[in-house]
Amino acid sequence: MRPFSYTQSPDVTTAVQEVSAQGAKFIAGGTNLLDLMKIDVMSPSHLVDITQLALNTIEETPDGGLRLGALAKNADTAYHELVQTRYPLLAHAILAGATAQLRNMATDGGNLLQRTRCYYFYDTHTPCNKREPGSGCSAIKGYNRDLAILGTSEHCIATHPSDMCVALAALEATVHVKSSQGERAIPFAEFHRLPGDTPHLDTNLHPTEIITAIELPAKGFAQHYAYLKLRDRASYAFALVSVAAALELEGDTVKEARIALGGVAHKPWRVPEAEALLQGKPASKENFRAVAEAYLAGAKGYGDNTFKIELAKRAIVRALEQAISMEGKS
């Protein structure tokens, strides 16, 4: 670990000022950043601790939505009454991630910005375009079981590892950010990026911007939803494939379907045109499979991870079935 300086910001204005310094970075729960600093993958020269900022509340918005402060803890969010009752999909997704201890530390803002779990990204002795632009991608011809099958580029096939973000993508949240230049709101679909030829950039957040809140629209799909996470062990593992499914039904007919995939791309994966295939259709296995095929239409496997293409299709079908039946959910 390299030496760094550290300050604790009293308010957002100071925080965004402090982070504009060369090499400065925010630290919230630290559950991702500190790990990466210890193994020299990230080496900020200054840490701006934002944990004292008043950004940890969860509040209703005037239009019936919910505003999650960026510093609300993952655990507090998942167990919040309004999240549990109105956005149970989000609660389930958060609780499918990490461990109780980590969720107690991890913040909602930090969760959005957690970095890929690609093996090579984690080992500074290996080439990796994301860690060291231009050095090459070891994973494409190397071990890529965990990596992406959609939206990849020849420069990087990393995935975004978050569970929470998959639900946020399905729920069409908005990310509120602020810098000394002002504020802006980023629709969730535009928050994370595809690797393209800039795999070192995970998101469209500017380094001097702070996430202040994540806003959920009123529609929470609390009647029919499922978060299905497939992984190599029952807990404390990232998704090979995950699916956030949310349905609005009229009798047996689908009025609206939202599907987001995790573990398959550099960002939570949505295909609105494919979702639309279900609109006005009966909620049947055949129709689900047709959507699944459409979702994975452009998928490309890299050897170790090729199985994810079929797995993702089956997972979509299963998640939609679970959303219909709501089995095992109160």
């Binding site: 670990m1 390299r2 030496p3 193994i39 020299d40 779990r117 093996y119 090579y120 984690y122 080992d123 002795h125 290996t126 070891s138 011809k141 190397g142 071990y143 079981r145 497939l230 190599d232 062990r233 029952a234 807990s235 404390y236 593992a237 990232f238 090979l240 199985f307 079929e310 797995l311 089956r314 997972a315 079908v317 299963r318």
Partner: protein, 739 residues
């Protein structure tokens, strides 16, 4: 059993110390003025260091030195001086020996600084230029160059019996399949660590994470040219090791070297990532051919193994002895070859050879049972053996049939339907599988010492280790029982090289070896106490022989006339307030050579496999174990539970991923190297089957450290087959293989 003697589920005597943090593990010893060493490891797998620039590191105030092959002092560099008790044939790795790189993550420098943080930072500043050479780490691609080692580290594969090839050709039913498991790393909870301190008089004190302090002592005295008595190695608690601590690892050598040069105590603790930079369970491929009659009689078994090793040592383990141990078959042929790669030498890992060989054999047997249409348990009964044919010796005891019976009954095996995919619940396929296993019950020479204080407190000691297995507890129980004292009055000391000689803690032989020595030394103490009693006036013990006296409730008495007794405290007063001491060495009896001795297991497993998604959940395990006398059913059960969890990981998760382009293991942390978590572990039922063995060792124990694993892995694989109809022969069985 108020006294918590052998057979009683006594709590760990060190339990309180462990949960309160009072028990100190190697890295936790506080040594004044200690300096901190951080290791730099190589990026490449093969080649030479062209240039190693330490100037930026050395320029930091507080950095004391950076040791590399260029400035390391010229101690002995003779190969043989680096050999240890567990070295395979070949030339051991010598840290900082030369500019040559032989494997990825090879230690190439030690940065020593005033603080750990500084040393860790400075380590990042060491610049290395390499001259790369092409490496070979691809196990499968290099199978063509497999060779038979000149010397086998473990048992030489048994000679062929009968005509295995001919009988195979003639057999009505034939099976020929290949089974593979990947490299696996030990990953104990505690990282390897060493602290070295040289005294003014040239004596060395070392704290080391090791499964046998006297192995480190011997290694250091050879490597640094010291008298063994001048090297004192201490290791009272080990936070798991699983074989990773059988051989002294490089942190020990580097700490001692740095401490000597800097004239300062030095501590070196490896990181989790560095735990992947040395020994591992070797990638192994096994070809098994079985010929059987339609009645399910084995006519021929051939078992050929190919195991990975390094370029510098021929590591080999007992992979192919198991058909001869576990089945009756007159035509057998086995072999074991090695595949040399540019990796570090593999290292014994919990049930080395056994978990490898039995996993493959027991899947193959299940496959053959299905070819014959005979229930897998019945198939094993039809090929049961009471002799170890590979050695041509009878088993000293073998209650495997009773394991089958009790295990099957507890599990409800008779309710199983034979056909795969026949036990479905919704979209979950249910599978039931079983396998059996064995592990050799060995006894090694061991010594122990006992001191009975004038206050009646007993201190027993031997230089063995407690790697979490419960050595402290079990040895105390044996001593307490032999001397008829309450458990609280007994203290057992271990993990100190000045104590009486003990073998490495490994091979499941510690209770058999050290426990037998403890019993013997207590018996010797009894004789001394009897002599003291005989010196007393009007002693009723005057003419008593040692075998005529008993010890219980703090008293010595004539067995035939219990009223003729004396309390130990009164006896001790006869010794003028001095303690009574004894030392003894217990060697294996010659009689043992006439027998083959193994513990046995039968494991029954239920799995649930999602029909569409391939996710696997082990929902139930019953393991029945016959392992001689169980000294402590509580610590014993923990061993078998741990073995069960291990078997689940072996079957479904563990896999160190080698990137052959880079020649490097890539999943070197516990996020990426998967081991089971609590949510992966099912309700587990453990049965200890009664087994009497008068030959195996004076205690009649067989060891529990490894037998718990061996049959779990194949039982899971067989259950997955029963659930899905898919035979997965390459581990780990992950969901993608079932899609």
């Amino acid at each position: 059993m108020k006294e918590n003697y052998t057979g009683a589920p006594a709590n760990r005597v060190d339990g309180r110390a462990k949960v309160t943090g009072e028990a100190k593990y190697t890295a936790e010893f506080d040594i004044p003025e200690v300096a901190y060493g951080v290791v730099v490891n190589s990026s490449i797998a093969k080649g030479k260091i062209k240039r190693i620039d330490t100037s930026a590191a050395l320029a930091l105030p507080g950095v004391l030195q950076v040791f590399t092959h260029e400035n390391r002092p010229g101690y002995t560099w003779l190969d043989s001086h680096y050999q240890d008790e567990d070295s395979p044939p070949g030339s051991p790795f010598r840290p900082l020996y030369s500019k040559e790189i032989m494997f990825s993550m090879q230690p190439i420098a030690l940065v020593v600084a005033e603080t750990f943080e500084l040393a860790r930072y400075a380590a990042l500043l060491v610049q290395v230029d390499y001259e790369m050479q092409p490496h070979e780490t691809d196990f499968k691609a290099n199978l063509k160059d497999a060779y038979r080692p000149k010397k086998y580290k473990s048992t030489k594969p048994p000679e062929p019996r009968g005509d295995a090839e001919g009988a195979y050709d003639q057999a009505a039913l034939k099976l020929k399949e290949t089974y593979i498991h990947p490299p696996q790393h030990h990953n104990p909870m505690e990282m390897h660590a060493a602290i070295a301190k040289w005294d003014e008089d040239g004596k060395l004190t070392v704290y080391d994470k090791i499964q046998g302090v006297q192995n480190s002592q011997k290694y250091l005295s050879n490597a640094f040219g010291l008298k063994p008595d001048d090297v004192h190695v201490i290791s009272p608690f080990v936070g798991g090791a699983f074989g990773s601590g059988l051989r002294p690892q490089y942190q020990l050598f580097l700490a001692v070297l740095a401490a000597r040069e800097l004239k300062r105590a030095v501590k070196v603790v490896l990181t989790r990532q560095q735990m992947f930079s040395f020994g591992h369970r070797p990638n192994t491929l096994q070809e098994i051919s079985i010929g059987a009659s339609t009645e399910g009689k084995l006519e021929s078994v051939q078992h050929h193994a190919y195991g990975e090793t390094s370029r510098f040592e021929d590591y080999h383990e007992d992979v192919v002895i198991w058909p001869g141990v576990l089945y009756h078959c007159d035509n057998m042929k086995v072999s074991h070859q090695l595949v040399g790669l540019d990796v570090y030498t593999p290292l014994d890992m919990r049930a080395p050879g056994g978990s490898t060989g039995i996993f493959a054999l027991e899947i193959a047997i299940d496959e053959m049972a299905y070819k014959t249409g005979i229930d897998p348990l019945e198939f094993r009964l039809r090929n049961y053996t009471t002799t170890d044919q590979s050695k041509g010796l009878p088993h000293s005891s073998k209650e495997l049939k009773e394991c089958y019976r009790q295990g099957a009954e507890r599990f409800g095996w008779d309710k199983r339907s034979m056909a795969p995919r026949s036990m479905k619940e919704g979209n979950q396929l249910i599978g039931w599988g079983m396998a059996h296993g064995a592990w050799e019950a060995k006894q090694q020479e061991a010594s122990a010492k006992v001191v009975l204080s004038p206050e009646g407190k007993l201190t027993v000691s031997s230089a063995t280790a407690d790697i979490g297995t419960g050595t402290y507890t079990v040895m105390s129980q044996i001593a307490a029982e032999t001397m008829g004292l309450p458990l609280e009055n007994v203290t057992f000391l271990l993990g100190d090289s000045t104590l009486p000689k003990s073998p490495l803690e490994g091979g499941s032989w510690t209770v058999a070896s050290v426990g037998s020595a403890v019993k013997l030394v207590c018996q010797k103490l009894q004789e001394d106490l009897l002599k003291l009693a005989q010196k007393m006036e009007n002693s009723p013990f005057k003419d008593a022989q040692p075998e005529e006296v008993s010890f219980a409730n703090g008293q010595m008495f004539l067995t035939q006339a219990p009223a003729s007794s004396i309390s130990l405290l009164a006896l001790l007063q006869q010794n003028e307030g001095k303690p009574v001491e004894a030392e003894a060495t217990q060697k294996p009896e010659k009689e043992q050579k006439k027998y083959s001795s193994y513990s046995h297991s039968a494991t029954f497993v239920e799995v649930q496999v999602d029909e569409d998604l391939g996710t696997i959940k082990v929902t139930r395990v019953v393991s029945a174990i016959a392992a001689g006398r169980i000294i402590n059913p509580k610590t014993g059960r923990s061993q078998i539970l741990g073995g069960t969890v291990w078997g689940i990981g072996f079957a479904l998760q563990e896999h160190t991923v080698m990137d052959n382009h880079l020649g490097r293991f890539m999943n070197h942390d516990l996020d990426k190297y998967h081991l089971p978590v609590n949510a992966d572990t099912p309700a587990t039922d453990i049965i200890f089957v009664e087994e009497k063995d008068e030959v195996v060792n004076p205690l009649g124990v067989k060891g529990l450290g490894e037998i718990g694993i061996v049959s779990v892995t194949p039982a899971i694989a067989n259950a997955v087959f029963h659930a899905t109809g898919k035979r997965i022969r390459e581990l780990p069985i992950t969901l993608d293989k079932l899609l």
